[in-house]
Symmetry: C2
Subunit: 319 residues, 2 copies
């Protein structure tokens, strides 16, 4: 943690030790927090220790110390006990409302009064999860872009009753972890990043299903054009610059009408049997012969190199 925030977020409880929970735990540990992991599965401890060992090299490349990563880690299957001293609870449980309700009622009943309540959910709005809480103003969505120990974005999505204080607490927490939080102004299904990905991928599926390109060709096309562009300038700035000296005003007056026309041509595919078969076969031919771990490591190393080149590696934690 940055010195300024170190005290406020010393004790972090991670609820649910799946891929996301593990990644949050690794990041918090690397920033010097005391981390308690709560998951009822009997294999939790061995899985987390193995997972942290897998993540450690990436943290090192990101400039963090990992020699004593597990020194401040403990496991507590009992949720009530696990949150008893928490300054932050980051919940990564199953995406089912009744489970979230049960978890959060227990958390609220046992956590200190000052603790920040955050859920990693990608699908359930804070407003719905918070209906079981006596103090719904304390709960917020802190939705990472997977994996949270690497990708900078965290979408902060307040519910209808979430307080401004909670928003600022969440912003401070994720910023202290070196993340780039974005606070959404409205609670919409899928938040922002997943909606944008879904919109893009819908057309990807359409173009592959129509036989215009293969999956591999489409991926190559994206990584040699749109991807690197949007890594350095978002879509609005890109169209601003695409308009030449006229900027975004030129885009709106000269290019937007044609784009609006093109929206009518875009595909509306479904994941029907024939499409799923085609997509599976192409994925197998394209990616099937390389171990997933190898591909993932290669991608993450490439992303770290990219972030380093752009001067976007988070500052090393002051410990």
């Amino acid at each position: 943690m940055n010195t300024a925030n170190a005290e406020s977020f010393r004790n972090v409880t991670i609820v649910g030790a799946g891929v996301i929970g593990m990644s949050w735990a690794a990041l918090c540990l690397a920033h010097g927090s005391e981390v308690t992991i709560s998951d009822p599965a009997p294999t939790t401890e061995s899985q987390v220790r193995a997972g942290l060992a897998d993540i450690a090299p990436t943290l090192e490349e990101l400039g963090m110390r990992t020699d004593d990563l597990t020194a401040r880690l403990r496991f507590e299957a009992d949720l009530a006990a696990a949150v008893a001293h928490a300054d932050v609870v980051q919940e990564n449980g199953p995406e089912r409302l009744e489970i979230k309700h049960r978890m959060w009622a227990t958390i609220e009943g046992n956590a200190p009064a000052h603790a920040l309540f955050a859920t990693s959910t990608s699908g359930l709005p804070a407003s719905e999860i918070a209906t079981v809480l006596k103090q719904p103003e304390r709960l917020i969505v802190g939705h990472p872009f997977n994996p949270p120990h690497l990708v900078p974005l965290v979408e902060i999505v307040p519910g209808r009753l979430t307080s401004e204080e909670t928003v600022e607490q969440a912003r401070a927490f994720y910023s202290a972890l070196g993340k780039k939080p974005q606070v959404l102004h409205k609670e919409v299904p899928g938040f922002v990043a997943n909606r944008l990905q879904a919109a893009f991928f819908r057309e990807c599926v359409h173009l592959v299903a129509e036989g215009v390109v293969t999956e591999q060709e489409l991926d190559e096309l994206v990584t040699s054009s749109i991807g690197p562009r949007w890594a350095v300038a978002g879509p609005f700035q890109s169209f601003h610059l695409g308009g030449g000296s006229g900027g975004f005003a030129h885009f709106l007056s000269h290019l937007a009408p044609a784009m609006e026309q093109s929206w009518k041509f875009l595909g509306s595919p479904t994941f029907d049997e024939a499409t799923v078969k085609l997509l599976s076969e192409q994925a197998e031919a394209y990616l099937g012969d390389r171990p997933i771990e190898e591909l993932a490591t290669q991608r993450d190393q490439a992303q770290i190199a990219l972030m380093r080149a752009l001067g976007e590696l988070p500052p090393a934690p002051a410990r």
Copy 2:
């Protein structure tokens, strides 16, 4: 040019000296071609010389020599004369079919029999442009992602009658320029890259119009998540890795149904008066106080740094 291809594409005629034509000219000159620029506008020569001076620093950063960039450059307003010795004609004229028809009839009537005929059009299919040609098999779309001297992608889109030989000639030409050509298997409106951008941007406009995020917040969100991801792994590989050890099969069986549901929630905005007003105002507040040239230079330098970090700079031309 690579030695192997240097002879085949020695004489390049660039038709139309707008932003795209100028960029193609710069790239071809840096690769050692003799370049003839044909544009009827009387200001062509001074504009092109100024434009090449603007582009030269970027070419240098990409590892190309620019000291004698204009030594092999000539101007010939008369189209018939301009193509008389061409090995390649890359046309960047106005996006109107009757103009393209007139140009290509003249080009075919005056160019050598071996010349490759390519059009940079982003909107008109080769099949429609080629209806005026005696040898429609010679014409192909070579659509760059702007600016062609920097972004690797070139979409090669054959028309109904384009020959396989022309496809291979185009692939060889763009590869020799250090580009990453992708040959599409079907001629669809907007080709691939612009359709994908349009699908993505539709949801961007929706989310800004709905007040979920501002333009600036959306850009920051993209550059801190989706952008860097898609710079290093395309969407299919990303969802393959997002499925964990189950890979793309897990994505299809577990996540695709939820994505298909989410497609129903996506927005259908229009560029109506209120939306255009909102988008303009936000763009002005976000980007209005910085000169466009400065933003563009910064973006291009960042992209070169990114490409260098990923080992994706094209090899320096052998001259």
